[in-house]
């Protein structure tokens, strides 16, 4: 009985060692694949400044700005404006006042056929409807900016080249020109005659106000976006502008 058990135990031990040894032994290599598919690389960023380039190389701030030429009966003046939709632009009341003919041109020199113009009674704002589509229009901010917020102004100072100036909101004040009801915004962004009607944008490109004047300290005054929204919401707030040549 004892003589039959011992070889069996040894055999079992041998099988066990062999089996365990197979686990330790290196496996045969996998064949080299004919084509290696690369893993997708996470975290790739788009090229620098790629988001600010439009199809024609001008950014949205430039594309929405328009130049307004007011051909009066005896004199000529220029101002700025900006689109709020495809066929509507906003500028100042004093930019379109005493006009015989309004002429609007875009950042790339295209002339836009003007339809009608209407001015607000209680703010230095005017709406101009166009027959030709406008190239681009920004989003209007929901609320007025806070003191210290960044501001960017795109317009045609002195009737010259399209210019973008930057600054910060200094605060608000009562309108020293009495052209607007309520408070107006003060910023340190530089403007000149001809900048009137320019859009003032926040750091997200939303309109926070409309330039209408500059102070003796070279600060700019804005009609706040809350007033703009109020006026736009009230159709009766605007009435057709009278031309110098008569109705």
């Amino acid at each position: 009985m004892r003589r039959g058990t011992r070889p069996a135990a040894v055999l079992a031990a041998l099988i066990a060692v062999t089996t365990a040894g197979c686990g330790v032994l290196p496996p045969l290599p996998e064949p080299v694949p004919s084509e290696i598919v690369p893993s997708p690389v996470a975290g790739l960023e788009p090229a620098e400044d790629s988001d600010s380039i439009s199809p024609d190389g001008f950014d949205a701030v430039q594309r929405m700005a328009v130049r307004v030429r007011n051909v009066g009966c005896d004199e000529l003046s220029t101002g700025s404006g900006f689109a709020i939709d495809e066929y509507t632009l906003i500028t100042n009341k004093h930019v379109v006042a005493d006009s015989d003919n309004l002429q609007v041109s875009t950042y790339d020199g295209r002339d836009i056929d003007v339809g009608t113009a209407a001015t607000a009674g209680l703010a230095d704002l005017a709406i101009v409807r166009t027959r030709d589509p406008l190239p681009s229009y920004p989003v209007l901010a929901e609320s007025d900016p806070e003191q210290g917020d960044d501001v960017t102004i795109a317009g045609y100072p002195s009737g010259g080249e399209l210019t973008i100036s930057s600054g910060r909101v200094i605060g608000s004040t009562r309108d020293p020109l009495n052209a607007n009801l309520g408070e107006v915004l003060v910023t340190d962004a530089k403007v000149e005659p001809g900048s009137s009607g320019s859009a003032a944008l926040d750091d997200q490109g939303r309109v926070i106000g409309v330039v209408y004047a500059k102070t003796a300290d070279d600060d700019s005054l804005l009609v706040p976006i809350s007033t703009v929204r109020e006026m736009l919401a009230d159709a009766a707030a605007f009435e057709d502008v009278a031309t110098c040549a008569g109705p």
Binding site: V32, F58, R67, R69, G159, G160, E161
Partner: protein, 192 residues
């Protein structure tokens, strides 16, 4: 001489075990198959290891060749990327130049438009002034003619009714005053 009879072993005792060397060959004969099995196992193991090593060497060589191929491809792509980046930078520069030029042209067009409008307004003004000057000249001429006529009447005053002469004189005075006012207004406009 006495002989001692053999003493029988005491009851309960077995015969002593044989010397150890007496069973050796049988044990060696029993271990031989095991040794053969171990030897075969070792040979199998050695063979497997040899095959595995050979396979791994071959695969390592193939991977190395692949790595060289991909490294070469990566180097080519990097070179192409450098070229594309250089072209992109040049295109960006060209775009910036083009947009700058478009802005300049748009501004030049706007300025020319302003000048055109201003010139037209100036021409309109000049035309209005010329028209006014012509009217003033006509009025002054009428004044002179009327004064000449009045002088003729006064030279032969007895031939005319005094009241008619006075009325005509007043009419000439009014006409000349209006002509003079118009001339003053024109001179003022020209001086401004």
């Amino acid at each position: 001489m006495t002989t001692t009879p053999p003493v029988p072993p005491p009851t309960g005792y077995s015969s002593p075990p044989p010397p150890s060397g007496a069973g050796g060959p049988r044990h060696r004969a029993g271990a031989a198959p095991w040794l053969a099995a171990v030897l075969v196992l070792a040979l199998v193991l050695a063979g497997y290891l040899w095959v595995t090593t050979t396979q791994w060497q071959r695969t390592a060589g193939e991977w190395e060749a692949e790595a060289h191929r991909y490294a070469s491809e990566a180097a080519t792509l990097e070179q192409q990327l450098d070229g594309a980046n250089a072209e992109l930078a040049a295109a960006r520069d060209q775009l910036a130049t083009a947009t700058g030029r478009i802005s300049e042209l748009a501004n030049e067009k706007a300025q020319l438009g302003d000048e055109n409008v201003a010139s037209r307004q100036h021409l309109d003004y000049q035309a209005r002034v010329s028209e006014a000057a012509a009217k003033v000249a006509v009025a002054l001429g009428q004044c002179v003619d009327a004064q000449d006529q009045l002088i003729g009447y006064l030279e032969d005053a007895d031939a005319y009714d005094a009241a008619d002469l006075t009325r005509f004189k007043n009419q000439v005075g009014d006409l000349c005053d209006k002509a003079s006012d118009a001339n003053d207004a024109l001179q003022q406009e020209l001086a401004s």
